[in-house]
Amino acid sequence: MDEDDDSIFSFFDSIIDDKNEKKIMKLILENKTPEEIVEILVRGV
């Protein structure tokens, strides 16, 4: 993650408190599709 992305990630990471919500936000910022995100969230892959 470069400086810019780190910056936007840091921003959302800072305004969101819940660790699970942070997890979702991180995956979205990584441009993962909903299906990929579900796979990661549910199976932990």
Binding site: M1, D2, E3, D4, D5, S7, I8, S10, F11, F12, S14, I15, I16, D18, N20, E21, I24, M25, I28, L29, E30, N31, P34, E35, I37, V38, L41, V42, R43
Partner: protein
């Protein structure tokens, strides 16, 4: 490479002026700094590029630039045609912006690896990020970052919603699919319904058996009863009918008797009436006879017709006068005038010859004269003769009346016999009506039973007798009516059971279809992760709410101009602190009094920039006014170019009026542009700056 050409025909009222681009800017690098004096077409090139890239459709385009584009493309004043071809570094992408006729709509053709595609506004905005700006009041316009944040929150909020929907669909699939336990439950339900139906069918078989037996028993009982009752009432009817006939017969005889009696009484009364005056004359000087006569006169013979008996006084009085008349006749016997007879007979004889001239020998007078003499003699003897006549008549009448009385008495005696006496007293009309009615009722019942027999055959009494010991035992004491009620109850039970069986069958069919359907489908994805899906569904819903509502509300507050400071909630304060840090992070550093300072945060509400000197821990606060215009512009443009990598759109950056920036302020922008171009995230980057001399400098080297 950017190859551009345009023609502007400007109507200045006194003349039409034609503007064309300077040769220096017709072919330029993709990333380029254009410097030059006014009116060489630097800004016009940017305007046309922005216009061609649907800049007027972009919400974030600064208002001042919107005005400039609108003025330039005001068709009343300017007739513009243009063609600009932009090619990327490896020539895999080509954009052709064109307007061949001043009245035509602009066209934007994208060509990727030789494949052309006309881009609509929406498609262009989805694929390209047009950043066109001039640094007017740049620090103040940092507030625009809040719009970007708002947009980001909205975009990511939509992404989270998509995720939520994706999880929701997976959950729905699992719910539809039903768990093995639920499937088993449905299967058990089917078995249970099948068992219930089996039971109900069995019950119905028994009920049908009972119904048939009871129906036969009822029919037999009803038939027997009908037959018995019919027989009974027919007998009653017959008997009453017989009585009726007898009464009719008797009535006929009585009528005959009455007629005879009347005739007899009438005849007697004639004689009686004739006798009374004669007796009165004959016994006018006899006191006893007169007394008896008076009694006789008081007797009304017609009473016999009503009383059916003769006045007891009548016969003795008649006997009395019979005796009296006998005495009288004995007394006057021989007194009868032979001469009178002779005269009468002679007169009758002579009367025949009265008109003849025959002369009776020895007589001196004619027959006529003799007749006259004779009639005179007869008249003289007549009175004497009336008495005798009366006496004889009276005798005859009395004798006759005595006979009459005897005959009447005999007839009355007959009429008073037992046979006649019972007339009219032996028949009960209401009993007759009742009998008729009952016969009709039982005839109907009897017919009904007969119909049943015709349809189903006459029930076998032996079989009924056997059934009465088993299935019909309970009902043998029942009346036919009770049996009939019981039959109706059983029929109702059978119908109700059949309805239940039908409903169960429908349910079984539906459940079976559902099970077959479920078993033919694949097990849904994450079937065993149902709980986890639900958990993440809830979390994504919470996050979506924050991004699309809570944080959107917070960020909107930043853009509202306020004279009085507003009190925010701790959550909001925390949020703004992070926004300020984020903006500071994006700017990264600023030049202040020839010193590079690390930007910690930029407080948009209080217009304070928190910075830190290199190697120092202590933070420093600067107000927006402390920052030079050139630095402000630098900060602003750097912020504009700091597009998150997650934004995959190709950047087209056009920055105008950068004259206030010195080399140091410009440097970070140039570096950013080169970096983005190298990463192929930027298609073109044009920086326009005033200078007395024309200088077009490619930035790629």
């Amino acid at each position: 490479m950017i190859v551009s050409d345009y023609k502007i025909e400007r109507d200045e009222k006194d003349e039409i002026k034609i503007f064309r681009p300077f040769e220096e800017i017709k072919n330029i690098d993709n990333i380029v700094k254009i410097e030059g004096p006014n009116s060489i077409g630097k800004s016009t090139l940017l305007h046309i590029l922005a216009y061609g890239c649907y800049g007027l459709e972009q919400k974030t385009l600064p208002e001042s630039l919107q005005d400039k584009l609108n003025n330039l493309f005001d068709s009343k004043r300017n007739k513009i045609t243009y063609k600009i071809v932009i090619t990327n570094q490896d020539k895999s992408l080509k954009l052709t912006l064109g307007k061949s006729d001043p009245k035509a709509h602009p066209t934007l053709i994208e060509e990727i690896n030789g494949k052309k595609n006309a881009l609509s506004v929406e498609t262009f905005q989805r694929k390209y990020n047009l950043i066109y700006d001039i640094p007017n009041d740049p620090i103040q316009r940092l507030k625009q970052v809040s719009y970007e944040i708002k947009e980001s929150q909205s975009t990511y909020g939509s992404n989270v919603e998509e995720l939520k929907q994706c999880i929701g669909n997976l959950i729905a699939d699992i719910i539809k699919n039903k768990s093995p336990e639920e499937r088993e439950k449905i299967k058990q339900g089917i078995l249970s319904l099948e068992k219930e139906n089996e039971k109900l069918q069995k019950v119905n078989i028994e009920l049908n058996e009972k119904h048939d037996a009871l129906e036969k028993a009822y029919a037999l009982a009803q038939y027997n009863r009908a037959a018995e009752e019919l027989h009974k009432f027919e007998a009653i009817r017959k008997e009453l009918g017989g009585q009726k006939k007898a009464v009719f017969k008797k009535t006929t005889k009585l009528i005959e008797y009455r007629q005879t009696l009347k005739t007899m009484v009438d005849e007697t009364d004639v004689r009686f009436s004739s006798l009374l005056p004669i007796l009165k004359v004959l016994f006018k000087d006899d006191a006893d006879a007169k007394s008896e006569h008076s009694k006789l006169k008081s007797i009304d013979l017609n009473e016999i017709l009503y009383e059916f008996k003769i006045d007891k006084k009548l016969l003795p009085i008649l006997r009395f006068f019979e005796d009296k008349l006998f005495i009288l006749s004995e007394k006057d016997k021989g007194k009868k005038d032979i001469e009178y007879d002779f005269y009468v007979k002679l007169a009758d004889f002579l009367n025949y010859y009265k008109n003849s001239n025959i002369k009776i020998p020895g007589a001196k007078t004619s027959i006529f004269e003799i007749l006259r003499e004779l009639n005179s003699k007869i008249e003289m003897e007549k009175e004497k003769n009336i008495y005798i006549t009366n006496l004889n008549t009276a005798k005859t009448l009395v004798n006759q009346l005595i006979t009459d009385v005897s005959e009447i008495d005999g007839l009355v005696a007959k009429m008073s016999s037992d046979e006649i006496k019972d007339l009219g007293s032996g028949i009960d009309e209401s009993a007759m009506v009742s009998a008729e009615k009952n016969v009709a009722i039982w005839e109907k019942e009897y017919k009904k039973s007969s119909v049943f027999y015709e349809e189903k055959g006459k029930p076998d009494e032996e079989i009924i007798a056997k059934l009465s010991k088993t299935i019909l035992r309970k009902y043998m004491s029942y009346t036919p009516n009770d049996m009939h009620k019981e039959i109706e109850t059983i029929e109702s039970k059978i119908a109700s059971n059949n309805a239940q069986i039908g409903a169960n069958e429908i349910r079984i069919r539906e459940d079976r279809n559902e099970i077959n359907d479920l078993e033919s489908k694949k097990t849904p994805k994450y079937y065993d992760k149902y709980d986890k899906l639900n958990k993440w569904h809830d979390i994504s819903r919470g996050l979506e709410t924050k991004l699309r509502h809570t944080f959107q509300g917070y960020i909107s507050e930043l853009t509202v101009p306020r004279k009085v400071k507003k009190q925010f909630t701790p959550e909001q304060e925390k949020y703004y602190e992070n926004v300020y840090k984020y903006i500071g992070n994006r700017i990264n550093y600023i030049l202040y009094q020839d010193e590079e300072l690390k930007v910690i945060k930029i407080d948009l509400l209080n217009k304070v920039i928190t910075v830190k000197k290199k190697g120092k821990e202590k933070e420093k606060e600067l107000t927006f006014d402390d920052i030079s215009t050139g630095q402000s512009q630098s900060i602003y443009f750097r912020n504009k170019l700091n597009v998150p990598k997650s934004d995959k759109r190709i950047i087209i950056a056009l920055f105008d009026e950068m004259a206030m920036m010195d080399k140091r302020s410009m440097q970070p922008i140039l570096e950013k542009i080169r970096s983005l171009y190298k990463e192929k995230r930027l298609l073109i980057g044009i920086l326009v700056k005033f200078n007395e001399k024309i200088n077009v400098e490619g930035l790629g080297k």
